[in-house]
Point group: C2
Chain length 255, copies 2
Amino acid sequence: SAKTIAIANQKGGVGKTTTSINLAASLAKKRKKVLIVDSDPQGNASSGVGVKTRNLEKHLYHAYTGGDIDLSDICQKTSFTNLEILPSNIDLVAAEIELIDVPSRESRLKNILSSFTDKYDYIIIDCPPSLGLLTINALTASDSVLIPMQCEYFAMEGLAQLINTIRSVKKSFNKTLFIEGLLLTMFDSRNNLTHQVSDELKKHFSKQLFKTAIPRNVRLSECPSHGKTIFDYDPKSTGGEAYSKLANEFLKNQR
Amino acid sequence: SAKTIAIANQKGGVGKTTTSINLAASLAKKRKKVLIVDSDPQGNASSGVGVKTRNLEKHLYHAYTGGDIDLSDICQKTSFTNLEILPSNIDLVAAEIELIDVPSRESRLKNILSSFTDKYDYIIIDCPPSLGLLTINALTASDSVLIPMQCEYFAMEGLAQLINTIRSVKKSFNKTLFIEGLLLTMFDSRNNLTHQVSDELKKHFSKQLFKTAIPRNVRLSECPSHGKTIFDYDPKSTGGEAYSKLANEFLKNQR
Ligand SMILES: Nc1ncnc2c1ncn2[C@@H]1O[C@H](COP(=O)(O)OP(=O)(O)OP(=O)(O)O)[C@@H](O)[C@H]1O
Ligand SMILES: Nc1ncnc2c1ncn2[C@@H]1O[C@H](COP(=O)(O)OP(=O)(O)OP(=O)(O)O)[C@@H](O)[C@H]1O
Ligand SMILES: [Mg+2]
Ligand SMILES: [Mg+2]
């Protein structure tokens, strides 16, 4: 059954969606069957792989709240072989409010995904920039969590809080949850602050820091407007090479 | 009484906090009395002006939920003349859940700030990266909303949703709410995508787009780690000059 990884960090704009799409695509390129679960009401992972989020008939909100709708066709194929998506749009905002009074509200996503785990090798969950119920559900449904980190002051500030939240989900809802790794994103080797923050992370999280860092590369921010992954848009770019290297390092760590 | 402006955009990492702090500081430098309200549980605006958010005795969460605590000393002075802050920390996350069942939950912040408006010329509210109750409260409490925009595809995607939310708050809770302006942030004139997106915004929002754009400038991301505004850290930087120009344009628009 599939290994499930949450891509989470409540700090906004650190590269959660870019990492979800391109790590998933890189694994799919290496012939793994991969599902991206878009757990962010912004629907960026969905539109980033070409889904028209406005006119979606079935999406994650329906799975969270939907009684006995047929879930079998909720996952969509993408233009990328071996890569599928469970899409979302802004309606998902309502799920967070509607879940408040539901018993075992933290494990709704885990139950939804249990019917999919046999179809895929990996399930990657893109989280919103918050530590609310949607992220808690993703952490409860996952085997591990990958933390994208910008080398900036505000991003460092939130890390302790994120680690606390992971620990409390592990204690209360998901005993086997662990940190897959911290991934440095938008890494700019010419900038002092980048080195100060990355040195700090190496000091405190050396075992959990991926050796691969993702450089700042404009090609990564261009590809979603074409609904393409970096591997369809510009595989030889520094961004494309980095996500390919990350997938290799990730797969090596699985052994 | 004070003019209140919400700095809002549900897209993460677009420069909401950086704009809240440095626009507020630039107005304070021009002898306006300014209060920053940190309405984001990440507490970045608070720590960015030097507040130690971990050991805060009184902060915004207490005002949202606190019975009859004395609010008179909840606002703290900063090291910057004429600039004060109503701080926050992660406890504020609980306010969003506790407000769900409270009548007129959308106007809690408006009521809190009503006791402050006589002390300040401007109140700037930094919003979290979401369209939940904390942001709805900020929009209900504000005269206008300033929208920081990165020139990137995902940031454009969310704009229609943000405008919809502003319209529905205007209709239901705050009849006089208007858009103060769209502010281009992290503007990199060498990059094609930046020009494509900014041309698109000029086409559809020409009247609401600030003429001032904030360039990408590493000095802006360095100053929060020293608890300083850009005007104490490096006023002559391109980032400092841009926020000073923005304040001039903003004040001119008030006439
Ligand atoms: N390595 C990179 N180089 C250049 N641009 C990048 C890189 N990674 C991401 N971006 C761009 O930076 C912006 C933020 O990235 P992204 O949207 O993936 O972050 P996020 O953490 O998912 O944001 P949110 O918190 O809103 O969900 C996007 O416009 C994206 O295209
Ligand atoms: N013009 C700029 N040039 C360079 N770096 C910037 C600029 N504006 C902001 N930054 C940096 O980019 C990151 C994102 O900015 P900021 O935290 O202000 O955005 P935000 O919208 O408040 O994020 P969130 O959605 O998490 O609240 C921060 O690390 C900040 O220091
Ligand atoms: Mg995202
Ligand atoms: Mg912020």
